[in-house]
């Protein structure tokens, strides 16, 4: 009997010692071995070859040594070798500004009926100022401007050609003009010959400045990413991997991987191990779906929480981003003239032509279930003006197996709508009839709706709207990752507004908590009273 008891004792003790010995090392592993976490090992393998090699030196190509008098001539020279490039590019959203396949139906895109709560609409590209970002030459949509994406030298093509034409016309009589013209031609040729794969600067020339200025739109995309450090973005940091955009936004036939309005950036989360030709657009492509070291709780989160949610703690960490835009305040004048005021960041917070705007830095994202698609309203959709209108909103919910909790920048707007037709309105902004010149809503709205071929009743008011940007850039170093407690918090946590699921630390059954504490405190009170009773009745025996 006795020996048997010793066996239990010894066995339990051994087991306990084993637990004590293994436990801390397991717990510590989570802290120290992040360098060799499977997701990082895999990503290092996937990106090993850093030197990209090419077999062409464009400065030696005869086709690029000719004199170029206009942009389209450059395009022609490019196409003389890259014969299929234009046809490919003409089919992409970058050229069409419409989601491929929707041209004959909903016309989803900037050139269609889509709108936002910044400059609202391109009025089917009638608004010429928008075309600054269209990859043609100037505002012309005649030929593709290959240089926007492939040119490695910054040059203002419109000015260069205009000046060259001017000096050429003078060149016959004036030696100096001739020299100037030749200088400009050398510059143009130099720029044409300096072509390559798109860099951050190429993509950024439009995507960093969307909405009319640096950092206006996204919050996770602005000029600070042209030359970021690792603190701003672990992948793009020039002191680290120095990734260009196309490292993840991989390309097929000039179609660049990424989300297009409702069309998600990817439909399957696959790693390169599962499909070596998959687009590298997801984190999982290189990092796998369980990237953290084994046993790390974060691996259990990846089915419901996007990588971005923890790894992008704040947006706009270097440059500010625009948080709200109230068009209803536009049109005010000082001394009879339009005016503008600047905020603490040196950004315009009021412009008579645009209204009231708010900028912010180090913005904490807002979180929503997101399956990769964005649901959006168009200028044709009817709205309920008594509520905030979601011009765009994340699609997905808790039950959707493809949906994850995902960080977003929300841009809040106040913009015009038609009180009779209950639709959002698309004012024309630039040009002689545009609001920026006339400060006349009636005229701008009438012209704007005309350009879209949509009715305008003449009666309008302003409605609050929201527009969402999924945050996926500005991935921060691991030591600044969002901590467990920032979401698993009793109050004021990052996920306070996300309901429909039970989250430890955040959620509780009020009744159980109340009853529980009543029971515990009741027990405490009971034993205290009982103890006091013993003391006062001297029932307690001497110690």
């Amino acid at each position: 009997m006795k020996s048997v008891k010793y066996v239990y004792y010894a066995l339990t003790l051994c087991c306990l010692l084993l637990l004590l010995a293994v436990g801390p090392s397991l717990a510590v592993a989570g802290e120290e071995d992040t360098e060799n976490a499977p997701g990082r090992v895999m990503a290092r393998q996937a990106t090993k070859e850093k030197q990209l090699w090419i077999t062409a030196d464009h400065s030696k190509h005869e086709a690029l040594k000719k004199t170029f008098a206009s942009g389209p001539e450059i395009t022609k020279a490019c196409l003389s070798c890259h014969s299929e490039a234009e046809e490919q590019f003409h089919k992409t959203i970058h050229w069409k500004w419409m989601v491929p396949g929707t041209e004959d139906s909903d016309q989803v895109g900037k050139a269609g009926y889509s709108l936002n709560n910044f400059c609202i609409s391109t009025n089917k590209t009638e608004d010429n100022s928008c075309l600054a970002c269209h990859p043609g030459w100037g505002t012309s949509t005649e030929a593709v401007n290959c240089m926007v994406c492939h040119g490695q030298k910054t040059i203002n093509w419109d000015e260069a050609f205009e000046d060259m034409q001017f000096f050429m016309s003078e060149a016959e009589d004036d030696e100096e003009s001739k020299e100037m013209a030749e200088d400009l031609q050398t510059q143009i040729q130099g720029a044409v010959q300096a072509v390559g794969r798109p860099t951050r600067k190429n993509c950024g020339s439009c995507h960093f400045y969307g909405g009319g200025g640096d950092g206006v739109k996204h919050g996770d995309l602005d000029s600070s990413l042209t030359k970021p450090n690792k603190t701003l973005d672990v992948h793009m940091g020039v002191d680290g991997q120095n990734f260009d955009c196309i490292r993840c936004h991989t390309t097929q036939l000039h179609n660049i991987a990424g989300r297009m309005y409702t069309a998600p950036a990817y439909t399957e989360r696959k790693s390169l191990i599962e499909d070596d030709l998959t687009a590298k657009i997801t984190c999982e492509s290189c990092h796998s779906a369980t990237p953290h070291e084994s046993g790390h709780k974060a691996n259990d989160h990846t089915d419901k929480v996007a990588c971005q949610t923890c790894h992008i703690p704040t947006l706009a960490r270097v440059n500010p981003t625009k948080m709200s835009w109230d068009w209803s305040q536009a049109g005010k004048k000082k001394d009879g003239k339009p005016y503008k005021t600047k905020d603490e960041f040196g950004k315009y917070d009021y412009m008579s032509i645009k209204g009231q705007m708010k900028w912010a830095k180090n913005v904490q994202p807002e979180y929503f279930w997101f399956n990769g698609s964005i649901a959006s309203r168009s200028t044709k959709d009817t709205i309920d003006p008594s509520q905030t209108v979601a011009v765009s909103e994340p699609a997905g919910n808790r039950q959707d197996p493809n949906a994850r909790i995902f960080p977003f920048k929300i841009h809040r707007g106040v913009q015009p709508y038609d009180k009779v037709h209950k639709t959002l309105l698309a004012p024309l902004l630039s040009g002689d009839d545009g609001y920026w010149k006339t400060l006349d809503w009636d005229r701008a709205l009438t012209k704007g709706q005309e350009s879209l071929g949509l009715p305008f009743s003449g009666e309008f008011d302003f409605v609050e709207t929201t527009y969402v940007f999924p945050s996926t850039h500005m991935v921060a170093p691991k030591d600044t990752v969002v901590s467990c407690k920032e979401c698993h918090a009793g109050e004021g946590g990052r996920l306070d507004k996300l309901t429909g699921f039970y989250m430890p630390g955040r959620d509780k059954w009020r009744l159980i908590d109340t009853l529980g504490w009543v029971l515990v405190l009741g027990s405490l009170l009971g034993v205290v009273l009982h103890g006091l009773g013993r003391v006062f009745t001297n029932g307690r025996k001497e110690d």
Partner: protein
């Protein structure tokens, strides 16, 4: 009354008692931190420790169950209503008058009827429920693979929380009850050394003995 020392708790029992009490206290502290009741070591550490200690408890508890079953100690937990009223009367009245305990401890009967009921509920019901709900809570991500999709996390969490409050409440009362021996520290001393002082003439009735009636009780070690 002359007092004699009897060896009441074997080495394994004492070891298990203190180990389990440490485990339970650690689980309560980390558990309530995870529940956002207070902030002490940080959410992540609290979760890691809670998971680890909880799983460890599950393994170690198996040894205890085995011990209870194979040594016949389980008979100490068989509930009874006999003398129950006397015990209740003692704690609510007699104790204040310095009366002796109606069911004193003996080697063969270390639990009085009230204790039998409480410890049976604890060891056979509350703690297993807590371990089971805790294990399910911990294995949340595997539910689908195990065909347990029908389980509801809020319900598992509810059971686990209700259990936690019950255990905390037990702990409060238990900590107080150990002061009710014939001296304030007598019970604590017994659980450390194994030896408890009892009245020499204390009689054990047959029904109280862990060995069934008709068999000779085991001699004390």
């Amino acid at each position: 009354m002359k007092m004699v020392n009897i060896y009441l708790y074997t080495r394994y029992e004492r070891f298990w008692h203190w180990l389990q009490s440490a485990i339970i206290i650690l689980l309560l502290v980390t558990g309530f931190e995870v529940h956002s009741s207070f902030s002490l070591m940080g959410f992540r550490s609290a979760v890691n420790i809670h998971n680890y200690v909880g799983l460890g408890w599950l393994i170690l508890f198996a040894f205890f169950v085995f011990w209870v079953l194979t040594t016949g100690e389980w008979r100490q937990y068989v509930p009874t209503t006999r003398k129950m009223l006397l015990v209740v009367r003692y704690y609510s009245y007699g104790i204040f008058r310095g009366e002796p305990h109606p069911v004193p401890k003996r080697k063969e009967a270390k639990h009085n009827p009230l204790q039998r009921l409480v410890y049976l509920s604890l060891a056979a019901l509350l703690l297993p429920i807590q371990m089971a709900s805790g294990f399910l809570y911990w294995s949340y991500n595997s539910w689908q693979g195990w065909g347990l999709e029908w389980l509801s996390l809020p319900v598992v969490a509810l059971i686990h929380m209700a259990g936690a409050f019950a255990i905390l409440s037990f702990l409060v009362v238990h900590l107080y009850m150990i002061t009710t021996g014939h001296t304030v520290s007598a019970h604590t001393r017994a659980m450390i050394t194994g030896w408890e002082e009892v009245g020499e003439d204390t009689q054990i009735e047959d029904w109280e003995q862990k060995v069934r009636k008709g068999k000779e009780p085991q001699p004390a070690n």
